[in-house]
């Protein structure tokens, strides 16, 4: 019984961490689906979102919910501007130019955040900090639960947005076929920038949800590397896949830390990623596509 409870605890913790990976991966997937770019700075945008929330809530003393909403909006605006000013210019260059560009941007964000907020870890008071819920013998942290609930809610909102609203459908159209979307009168460039905005906003939500569990610091962007594993497991083009992949990575990581010797926890996400790329590169949720030359 003790073991089973311990195991459940690990799984819940893993799922919570996995939701964060999933949210970052969601950002990758949204951008990849639309523009075939991979944003290596996604983790750093999450870090910026976390710091925005820190400034608004801890410094300016805003209410948690208002501060969080403002931080998400700010980060989204930042994503829009980033695409409009920088990334739009490299359309048509080889893909690895984009990889290097976003990597470079990530380093710049990290330095700017370091100058602005310092290199120490910071945190702010949330309604979920240090509270627990007992669910039949299990002691669960509210912070972990808030991550899981928040992720599910966010996905529901995104799902409704993409399937029900005009803009969401326009976004789907532009990511399926840019030229056709353009002919239908969709302002493709602006739609792409909006997708960057959504993706940055999702990253900010991840940063804010993560803050009660682990502190915000300049290097939290490195979580983005683990989120790649999540995106790849999900098939890099599938939104539910990214979340499922994230949860898988999170749980595997927790279990590896518990059952395997030290060191395996750090590499488990990367090992899962490489194994997935070797065995099933199209991911668990691949859309079937035929090749036409």
């Amino acid at each position: 019984m003790q073991d089973a409870a311990r195991l459940m605890q690990l799984v819940v913790n893993g799922a919570a961490a996995g939701c964060i990976y999933g949210l970052i991966a969601l950002g990758f997937v949204l951008i990849y689906k639309a523009t075939e770019m991979i944003n290596f700075a996604q983790g750093d945008i999450m870090m910026l979102g976390g710091f925005f929330a820190f400034s608004l809530i801890a410094h300016w003393g805003l209410n948690y919910w208002i501060g969080a909403a403002l931080a998400v909006a700010l980060t989204a605006a930042f994503g829009y501007v980033l695409d409009a000013l920088v990334l739009r210019r490299v359309i048509g260059q080889p893909q690895f130019a984009v990889v290097m560009l976003t990597l470079g941007l990530g380093f710049i964000f990290r330095a700017v955040a370091g100058i602005t907020w310092g290199y120490d870890s910071v945190g702010f008071e949330t309604p979920f900090t240090n509270k627990t819920v007992r669910v039949g013998g299990l002691v669960l942290g509210q912070d972990n639960l808030s991550i899981i609930v928040g992720t599910v809610l966010l996905c529901l909102v995104l799902y409704l947005f993409f399937s029900k609203t005009r803009l969401g459908v326009a976004m789907q159209a532009s990511s399926q076929n840019q030229l056709a979307a353009y002919y239908m009168g969709i302002p493709v460039r602006r739609v792409f920038s909006l997708i960057w905005a959504i993706s940055a906003g999702v990253a900010a939500v991840a940063g804010i949800l993560l803050s009660p569990v682990s502190m915000i610091d300049v290097n939290m962007g490195f979580l983005g590397i683990k989120a790649f594993a999540a995106a790849v497991i999900g098939g890099f083009g599938s939104i539910p896949g990214a979340l499922v992949g994230g949860v898988i990575v999170g749980v595997v990581e927790q279990l590896a830390g518990y059952f395997l010797p030290a060191g395996f926890q750090e590499v488990s996400a990367n090992v899962v990623l490489l194994a997935m790329l070797i065995l099933r590169p199209q991911g668990l949720f691949a859309e079937r596509m035929g090749k036409r030359v």
Partner: protein, 358 residues
């Protein structure tokens, strides 16, 4: 302006375009041989480091610049080369033997990572190599029986033909020799059918395949050669740092190596060397100007990676040809003066090329 009128194929693939080229390169070579006699130990050591990074840059250039495969895990190859060489030396193996062994051993890893990643397109490859690099970094940390773990270990002093290479000069000359060997190897490789195949794969996989190029085989070879050269650089790097610690082979180093290739100029061996000079000189320049910069910018932690990031962003946005590309433009401007045409180097109008299959 000298215009070389080519009359046969042998002339077209010659390593020197004309005698003037040969003269200038020979002059440069003599100057490089004399430098240790004229300059202080510190500068010789730094120049040796430039050579080592240039070797790694050439290795990565063959992969990124000529085959079009991106790798964000080359620090791992550098690390494998460094540790292999140092551990062999500790076992008492001769340096003349341990250096090539380190290269070959690293090449094995190149094949090992190359084979599974062959089916991947550019982006997946970037992610896979990033993951590979971080796995190797963790292994170097945790496998402390062999690597000494976090504490690392001191690298034994190598001896070559009975002469101990304990000064900066020794490493300088060995690095120079290896760099020349690697450049000779790559330049020759690039004018063989093998090199042409690599370039063809870079330009279009579909058309390369339809011309009968075995994609998987050539990509694996490219990975192996690139890893071999980077492993050699790693072996020398071990002697440059003299004390191996796993945290020197992290993602940041991989990004530095790719910066060499991008800033120097994709698709040219000159670029690899120019990029290495840039990447090694930037930290030195920061160190010199540290106290003179306004607002204490110079003492800011994390300045170096952010400057690398900034330079990378600016180069990709404004000069995709890198330093060598800019040099070609400047040379063209002088050669064609006053007839330089604005359109000479204009990039074609480009559209997003899809790698998706549909």
């Amino acid at each position: 302006m000298r215009y070389v009128f080519r009359t046969d194929y042998r002339q077209d693939i010659r390593l020197w375009r004309h005698r003037g080229d040969l003269f200038w390169y020979a002059l440069l070579f003599v100057a490089l041989l004399l430098i240790p006699q004229l300059m202080g130990e510190f500068y010789v050591g730094e120049l040796g480091a430039v050579f080592i990074f240039a070797i790694a840059g050439v290795g990565l250039m063959l992969l990124v610049g000529y085959t079009g495969l991106i790798s964000l895990g080359h620090a791992a190859f550098l690390g494998i080369g460094a540790y292999t060489n140092a551990i062999l030396l500790k076992q008492g193996v001769l340096f003349a033997l341990s250096l090539p062994t380190a290269g070959l051993f690293t090449a094995l890893f190149g094949v090992a990572i190359g084979i599974p990643t062959l089916r991947m397109s550019g982006l997946y490859l970037a992610i896979a190599t990033l993951a590979f690099g971080s796995i190797v970094g963790t292994v170097l940390q945790k496998w402390d029986k062999v690597t000494g773990g976090f504490d690392g270990f001191a690298v034994p002093t190598p001896t070559l033909f009975g002469i101990p290479l304990d000064s900066a000069n020794g490493i300088y000359y060995v690095s120079l020799a290896v760099l020349l060997f690697v450049l000779w190897l790559s330049a020759n490789l690039l004018r063989t059918p093998f090199g042409r195949a690599m370039v063809a794969i870079r330009d279009s996989e579909v058309s390369a395949q339809s011309m009968g190029i075995h994609l998987a085989r050539y990509k694996t070879y490219a990975f192996a050669i690139s890893a071999f050269i980077t492993g050699l650089a790693g072996a020398l790097f071990a002697h440059y740092v003299r004390f191996l610690a796993p945290d020197s082979f992290d993602v940041l180093l991989s990004v530095q190596l790719v910066t060499i290739v991008f800033v120097g100029g994709l698709g040219s061996l000159h670029g690899a060397i120019l990029g290495a000079i840039f990447v090694r000189l930037l930290p030195q320049a920061i160190a010199i100007m540290r106290d003179d910069l306004p607002f204490g910018i110079g003492r800011m932690p994390g300045l170096e990676p952010s400057l690398f990031g900034l330079v990378l962003v600016l180069v990709i946005l404004f000069e995709p040809g890198g330093i060598y590309g800019r040099w070609l433009k400047i040379k063209h401007w002088f050669q064609a003066y006053p007839l330089k045409r604005r359109t000479g180097f204009r990039r074609q109008k480009s559209y997003a090329r899809s790698e998706r299959l549909r």
